[in-house]
Each structure stands twice: as structure tokens, then as C-alpha cells.
């Protein structure tokens, strides 16, 4: 085992644990994160497995395969985040609008007390 392997594995375990402890989300999200974490640990611990997989799908090098999958996964997460963000924005808009309508000042209302 090379020095980089335990370091990477530690990072991944810390990442998964941190996600479960502090970042609340749905069950499916958790399952995906757990799965990705496990895959990451396995691939780091047994690089030959990645190489074998890469050969099997015609990529050549295990490191390339991991990079490709990583890019696809990251893009997917970005999209999920983006759509969450828009959903949140629209909820914020609804809330803000309701507040504005509830607190509307009509022309006949008296001036606020200073």
C-alpha cells in the first residue's frame, strides 16, 4: 500500500461521515453518497480493479475511467444543486410576496409613528 492510499481513503470516509452528520437530505441522496464513498474506497484500495474495469469497457487506464465517471457524477450533482436552488428561490419569492401583501400600506393608512 502506498502512502497516498490511506490518505485518500481517510478523506473519503471523513467526507461521507460529514455528509451524514451535518448535511441533512433525503434517503436517496444518502444512499447515493454511501455508494459513491464505498466505490471510492474500493477503487483506491484496489487500483487493479479499476484497471480491469477500464480495460473491460475500453478506456485503457483505470485512472482515466475514474476521472470520466467523476466528471459525469460532478455534472449531475451540479444540476441537482441548480434545480434545488431554483426551487428554493421560488419558495423565497412566495414567502416574500405573501409578507409584502400582508403588510401592504394603503393610501388612506396613517403615516407611521416616528
Amino acid at each position: 500500500m502506498t502512502l497516498i492510499q490511506p490518505i485518500l481513503i481517510a478523506f473519503m470516509i471523513v467526507g461521507v461521515v460529514a455528509y451524514f452528520r451535518w448535511l441533512r437530505s433525503s434517503h436517496w441522496d444518502r444512499a447515493i453518497v454511501l455508494f459513491l464513498g464505498l466505490v471510492g474506497v474500493v477503487l483506491v484500495a484496489a487500483p487493479d480493479l479499476a484497471n480491469w474495469l477500464a480495460m473491460a469497457v475500453g478506456v485503457g487506464r483505470g485512472a482515466d475511467l475514474v476521472t470520466y465517471i467523476g466528471v459525469v457524477g460532478l455534472s449531475f450533482f451540479c444540476l441537482v444543486l441548480l434545480s434545488r436552488l431554483r426551487e428554493l428561490e421560488s419558495r423565497l419569492a412566495d414567502l416574500t410576496r405573501q409578507l409584502a401583501l400582508d403588510e401592504a400600506v394603503q393610501p388612506e393608512d396613517p403615516e407611521p409613528r416616528a
Binding site: 431554483r86 410576496r97 403588510e103 393610501p107
Partner: protein
Amino acid sequence: MNSTWVIVPAYNEALVLPSVLEPVRAAGYEIVVVDDGSDDLTFERARSLGVHALRHRVNLGQGAALRTGMEYAVARGADFLVHFDADGQHRAEEIEKLVAPVAAGRADIAVGSRFLDSRGSIEAPRSKRAALRVGAFLNGLLTGVWLSDVHNGFRALSREAAQRIHLTQSGYAHATEIISQARARGLRIAEVSVNIRYTDYSKQKGQPLASAFSIVWDLLAGKLQR
């Protein structure tokens, strides 16, 4: 008598608000100012002017402010609704002309155009004119409604149209969204020639060309999500 409500979304417009609203009020329209989370005294100014004053606690964008104003006006029985910019580029004396086709029942929505006759185009700076042509073309592609102008923000809607259009775009993309929803719901759109005042102030407040890209982005993202 039919009531016309003028909706004025305002973001940091405390300085010009009194002079912009004065002619609108003199013409006898109900005015709704929606302060879109301004940092200045826009809301307090609107309040002191004796108009309907609403305030977004946080800045959401012009589309969101218009929607708030429309919901408010509809709830209070508005027959016709007019979108009017707070920066002084629209003319109060043209409101009547804009509302006319809607009031006459010839259209459900009337949009102001700078390019319908030659008079309007003289005042627009050349670079702006070219950019707007491109915008009108993109707008046509996205909505299927070919208008001579786009995004000048001066519009009149019937009560029914205001109730049937649900803006989901908080930012500037609402201008395109209104048109595409109008088409999807079978509402009739009319163009009315208007004059836009290009003061140094309104030019400075206007949107840079780059924001056109973010408008297209918003629209595409919105389409994908539905």
C-alpha cells in the same frame, strides 16, 4: 367606472420616484409601488406619496415585483393593469393610449413598442436599437409571437389576462414569459407605439447587453424545469 391600476416595481428609486409618480397620479390612476428590497428609502418615499406601497423584504427581481403588484391590484378590484417603470422612461400621458385597445376589448394585453412607427426609433441610441432588434428576434423564436420591440416594460393587461398569467420568472425574463403565456392561453396581444425617454438616469439604470444572455439562460432553465 373602470379602474386602471398602475404597477410600479421599484428598486433603489427613492430619488426619482416622486417626479415619476406625480404625473401618473395627476391623471387619476391608482398606483401600486412594489419596493423590491431596496437599500434606499424607496418604500418610505412611496408611503409618503400616498400610494399603495408594498415592500419585498429581500430583492427578488422585477418579474417578482410585478407579480406581487398584480396580485394586489387584482385582489382590490382592478379592471386594467399597467406595468410602468420607476426610472422615468415611460410617459404617464401614454398610459391611456396603451390601455385603449384593452379597454375597447380588441386585445387582452397591449405592449408598448418603440419601433412600431418611425417616431419612436429616432430617440433610441443606435447601439441599443440593434441590441433590441436581436432581442425581439430571440423573443420571437422563444414565444412564437413576432413583436417589433421587446423588454421595454410598458404594458397594459385586462383583469382576466392578469389573472391567467402566472409569472414564474423573477428576473427580467418575465417580459418574454408574459408573451409566451399569453400565446399559450389564447390571449390577444396588441402593440401600441410609445415613446421611451432616454435620460442619463434611465440609461444608467438600464440593463447591459450581457444581461440578455442571463435572460435567455433563465428562460431555458425555466422551460427545462417544467
